[in-house]
């Protein structure tokens, strides 16, 4: 049995010595106790924390190796934009893998739905609505999402009702939809995209600016505080043990600090001089001697990815559907005996995956400003790798949305770090491949210890 315990919330008491996995083997016992007590009180998932630690090590490592190029607002901003597409798909891949399935077709679905959206907005819709119609982007997006959902549903039905293993169905899908992508335009690249649609890809235009970034940040902080208060209130209602008050403050402060830190970084990446100059001229602003510093703020694709992450976390943890997904992953037979319609749950998971592929396709076609045949090639592997590095167990039943998104960020960090170092593409793949294997091995060791 490779699937071992992953306590999503560390046990409130560690009666047995072996479960004190949070403590580092420090020589000073009192120090170790303090650390253990801190994690126990705040109920921070130590596994997720380990990932954040690994991420920070990678970031700082690259920062030193590149001579200070990595941890700049500019690079971090680009990193966030580059991660968005795979991160969106990784959230769905978690649910797929949790139910002991796999989806190898996500890259091809991304390519196909991207092409559909490209053709819709560049050829079909303009013929009907005229160019630059304000509704073009949403209609194109809706078309892509519907097609993605239908493809996913088709996969799900074949897997659930015809009992063909998901590996085979989606391997077939990988070939079929990549081929189908070619047939949409006989291999021609479709460009350019609709101006509004392009905002989903980020860039100077596709960012929300300083003011709105702060607004989003403050709303996020209020939401964090409200969530903590609500959870505490709920537990109080039933007289359950609660976290110590200081732990709640620490969590709230930590959450807000991270959110506001991210906003601040995004607001310290300014528009390129040329674009700022053109903007100044267009709006009749006098060009100051010191240069005009217009902050980018948070990029729209990043907002989309974070929004998807929040919605998916809600689905996975707060809805009955999510509970069923995990129950099926843990014990399909028990789920069936409990009266869960496991086949329909499977269909819904793959449908969701298809929709997420379409959203990811929107981000990546918008960013490229074109829909191409090769779009999303190898993305299935990056998506699966992100989910697995993020702690999703291939034997099913275990995984978190946040972990998968962090996994996507970690993989992208490696890649962009290596680009900054001037490492050529083939060797980048060698490194990413090795990191995947090492990450899963470390995770296996961690879980064996945690047990």
């Amino acid at each position: 049995m490779a699937d071992m315990t992953q306590p999503t919330t560390p046990p409130p008491h560690t009666s047995t010595g072996t479960s004190a996995s949070t403590s580092t083997p420090t020589t000073r016992a009192s120090d170790g106790n303090l650390v253990t007590r801190f994690f126990r009180a705040t109920e921070i998932d130590t596994r997720l924390l380990g990932m954040v630690g690994a991420l920070l090590i990678i970031w700082i490592g690259f920062h030193i190796l590149t001579g200070g190029l990595f941890l700049t607002p500019r690079n971090l901003w680009f990193l966030s934009v580059q991660t968005a597409s795979v991160a969106v798909m990784a959230t769905g891949m978690v649910l797929v893998i949790v139910t002991r399935n796999i989806d190898l077709s996500v890259g091809s679905i991304l390519g196909f739905t991207g092409m559909i959206m490209g053709v819709l907005q560049a050829q079909l819709l303009p013929a009907w609505l005229g160019f630059d119609h304000p509704a073009t982007w949403i209609l194109a997006l809706a078309g892509g999402v519907i097609v993605g959902g239908l493809i996913g549903t088709l996969h799900g039905v074949i897997i659930a009702f015809l009992n063909v293993p998901s590996f085979i169905v989606t391997l077939g899908g990988l070939l079929v939809w990549r081929g189908a992508t070619w047939y949409v335009t006989s291999g021609q690249t479709v460009a350019p995209m609709d101006a509004n649609f392009r905002l989903m890809g980020g860039g100077t235009e596709g960012s929300i600016g300083a003011t709105w970034s702060w607004v989003v940040g403050v709303i996020a902080c209020l939401a964090i505080i409200a969530a903590i208060i609500n959870a505490r209130h709920q537990r109080k209602r039933f007289h359950f043990p609660r976290r110590p008050l200081w732990a709640e403050y620490v969590l709230a402060a930590l959450g807000c600090a991270i959110v506001l830190g991210v906003v601040s970084i995004a607001n310290h990446y300014y528009w390129p001089v040329n674009i700022a100059r053109r903007y100044a001229e267009a709006n009749g602003i006098a060009w100051p001697e010191t240069g005009l510093l217009i902050p980018h703020g948070i990029a729209i694709p990043v907002l989309i990815a974070v929004g998807v992450g929040i919605v998916m976390t809600f689905i996975a943890t707060r809805l009955r559907f999510g509970r069923y997904v995990f129950a099926i992953g843990g014990n399909p037979e028990a789920a069936e005996l409990a009266g869960i319609k496991t086949r329909w749950v499977t269909v819904k998971i793959f449908m969701l995956m298809g929709v997420l592929c379409a959203i990811a396709a929107a981000i990546s076609t918008a960013r490229l400003n074109a829909a191409t045949n090769a779009q999303g090639e190898l993305d299935e592997l990056y998506t699966i790798a992100a989910a697995v590095i993020g702690g999703t167990s291939l034997s099913g039943g275990i995984g978190t949305i946040a972990g998968a998104m962090l996994g996507a960020l970690l993989m992208q960090s490696l890649q962009s770090g290596m680009v900054l170092l001037g490492i050529d593409t083939p060797f980048q793949r060698v490194v990413v491949g090795m990191v995947l294997v090492i990450a899963v091995w470390l995770d296996t060791v961690y879980r064996a210890r945690a047990k």
């Binding site: 315990t5 943890t317 809805l319 039943g397 047990k451």
Partner: protein, 272 residues
Amino acid sequence: MTDIPNTTQAPSATHPHPLVEMKNISISFGGIHAVDDASVDLYPGEVVALLGHNGAGKSTLIKVLSGAYRRDEGDILINGEPAEIRNPRDAKKFGIETIYQTLAVADNVDAAANLYLGRELRTKWGTLDDVAMEASTREVMGRLNPNFRRFKEPVKALSGGQRQSVAIARAILFDARILIMDEPTAALGPQETAQVGDLIKQLKREGIGIFLISHDIHDVFDLADRVFVMKNGKVVGHARTGDVTKDEVLGMIILGKVPPGAVPGPGAMKVA
């Protein structure tokens, strides 16, 4: 065993009808009589063990009660009223819950999630009401197993006995009056077996009737008030556990020989 004489002595006095009465049940698969003219009954607060070799028909008989199989002949009476049980949902309506040998719990989620699996409580927003589910889980588990503290951990982290209590809690959470337990202690160590034994006694006190199915007499003899022994699809006989010895029951299982303390059934060995 006579440790609980009250419930074993006078069930018929306090309860005019048995909780369950299965009368002359027959079921055959392709000409083979898996169960042939079998009758068993169960009173509230009573533990009845159904013993026999593999293939003796005990599981098939009980699956008629849990709704997994449909009988060819015979009647089922619940509280003296004829009951039509066509599928597991019907059985649940009559308060019949089955605990499977495999326990049928989802290892990776916590006790509350397992207890409410498929019947989750929801808030008015349609989201899972985890706190309410945990609250009633704490209440039910407190009744069954007061030492149970690990509400937030996945069931995988629990011991076999604790998992068993989760499975039982799941069954009784929805007002089960009749509990069917298939080999309840087969996979457990001695300490955990004792824990399950305590659990069963607790359920008896609450007036729940329990069928224990086992092919191993040692597993269930001490827990049961009465035993029914089956052989080749027929009931060899039944007896109060106080009136017979383990060896005599073993004789019933292996040879079909009915001792003096037992009531012979249709499957009893004919004395030449």
